[in-house]
């Protein structure tokens, strides 16, 4: 009886030799790669040094029992979503319920039923594969911290106040540029451009959470708060201008027009959360700080400098970064004047 599914890497944990051997051989019959351990402690050691897709776990074991293994898995960011199938005697169902509450995926009753064994192992393997794909997708669009938080806590659509840095970036005169070239060139340009900007932002712990046309919005310091978010945002901006310089050199060689960008950063209290529906949601920030950041970005058209930041962001960066105080500006729709600083590019030629 061969499995129609892809083989998986399985770990069987049982202190009883007959149970262990039987499960191992039965799963090997279905072409899976099977390892086994005689108690929870040995299993945990194996889980930390090798990759597995599904864990089949007995409850009653010496040294470290099934409950203790489930607890240890929950505390481990890398192992928390490993599907676990409890294997138990039919008169232990009350304990199985406790295991499911502790995060176990499913259960099998001993003596094993071959049909159920096959079906449940395949179902858990499928879940593992979906989770891996989901993780990969999250990691494409978010930092590992955000991805982990999403995997751990799911989408709670409720918002909260957080202190973060918000960055807006736009390509200067993009409309006239795109009118001059082929539509496919424009899309290719945007894809190359976004790939570079994503790199700079995620390398500095930021999350890109909106792309609209040629503009993008990124957040630093949320959803997972950390105190260096202002400096990280500025470093990301510097890196973006440097990557863009290299990109432009390449474009010039291909006889293509250079592109220029404006970056605005503001820091402070924002309302952060997932907006949308349970089916389609994005992590985003709203509030005064976000509006201010967008206005500051727009103001780069007036100043002609690529990176502008507000005073609170300036106060959060080290002296290695030099800035020019541009004085106070009253933005449309704002009552109070805001002090603006131009960040000096590290590369002289960009100043």
């Amino acid at each position: 009886m061969k499995s129609s599914h892809e083989p998986g890497r399985l770990l069987v944990v049982d202190d009883n030799r007959v149970n262990r051997l039987l499960l191992t051989r039965a799963l090997e019959q279905h072409e899976h790669r099977v390892s086994n351990a005689e108690n929870g402690r040995i299993a945990m050691e194996m889980l930390k040094s090798q990759a597995f897709d599904v864990l089949l776990l007995d409850i009653d074991m010496p040294e470290m029992n099934g409950f203790e293994v489930l607890e240890a898995l929950l505390k481990d960011d890398d192992l928390r979503d490993l599907p676990v199938i409890m294997t138990s005697a039919s008169d232990e169902l009350d304990r199985v319920v406790k295991c499911i509450e502790m995060g176990a995926e499913d259960y099998l009753v001993k003596p094993l039923n071959p049909v159920l064994l096959r079906a449940r192992v395949n179902a858990s393997l499928e879940k593992k594969r979906l989770r891996d794909v989901q993780k990969k997708l999250f990691r494409t669009f978010a930092t590992p911290e955000v991805a982990n938080q999403l995997m751990k806590e799911g989408f709670s659509l409720g918002g909260k106040y957080v202190t973060a840095s918000v960055m807006f970036t736009d390509i200067r005169s993009f409309t006239s540029l795109s009118e001059k070239q082929d539509p496919s060139d424009t899309i290719e340009l945007l894809n190359d451009y976004f790939a570079l900007m994503f790199d700079a932002i995620t390398a500095n712990n930021g999350t890109v959470n909106q792309m609209e046309g040629d503009g993008l919005m990124a957040i630093f310091g949320a959803p997972v708060y950390y105190d260096k978010h202002r400096e990280d945002a500025v470093y990301a901006a510097l890196e973006m201008t440097e990557l863009l310089k290299a990109f432009n050199e390449q474009r010039l060689m291909q006889d293509k027009e250079e592109i220029r960008i404006g970056i605005g950063i503001a820091s402070g209290k924002v309302i952060a959360g997932y907006t949308g529906t349970q089916h389609r949601a994005t992590y985003t920030c709203v509030g005064d700080t976000v509006n201010l950041s967008a206005r500051i970005q727009n103001h780069t058209k007036v100043t002609g400098t690529p990176i502008l930041i507000d005073q609170y962001t300036r106060e959060g960066v080290s002296d290695e970064i030099t800035t020019q105080d541009l004085g106070e500006v009253v933005f449309k729709g704002k009552q109070q004047a805001v002090r603006i600083f131009a960040v000096d590019p590290r590369d002289e030629s960009l100043r």
Binding site: V18, A26, D60, D91, P111, L112, N113
Partner: protein, 112 residues
């Protein structure tokens, strides 16, 4: 009443693979006497936990091979362990040893 339920045993054989059934029987025949020894020692030293655990293993393996009567006796012993009543087991351990002896003989004959 036969000692081993043939339907359960055939299902087991199918699940483990024909080649492997002998290895599985040998493992059980090697481990079961140890479990019985553990049950006896735990009874003598009134070690409730070890008693319960050994009886549980015996129950689990007997059920796997379709040895219903042996599984039932082991389950009863396990219950005595769970309820901390080792002194009330009476002659059940002796009955379990006898049941195991006939299971052992029959399993030896079932090896292919």
């Amino acid at each position: 009443m036969p000692t081993i339920d043939k339907t359960t045993f055939e299902e087991l054989k199918q699940m483990s693979g024909e080649d492997f059934i002998n290895e599985l029987i040998d493992t059980f025949l090697e481990d079961a006497p140890k479990m019985i020894e553990e049950i006896k020692a735990a009874l003598d030293s009134n070690n409730v936990d070890a008693f319960r655990r050994a009886a549980h293993s015996m129950k689990s393996n007997a059920a796997t091979f379709g040895a219903g009567q042996l599984a039932e006796l082991a389950k009863e012993l396990e219950m005595f362990g769970k309820e901390n009543k080792l002194h009330e087991t009476g002659d059940r351990l002796k009955a379990l040893e006898e049941a195991y002896a006939s299971v052992r003989d029959e399993l030896k004959g079932l090896k292919s």
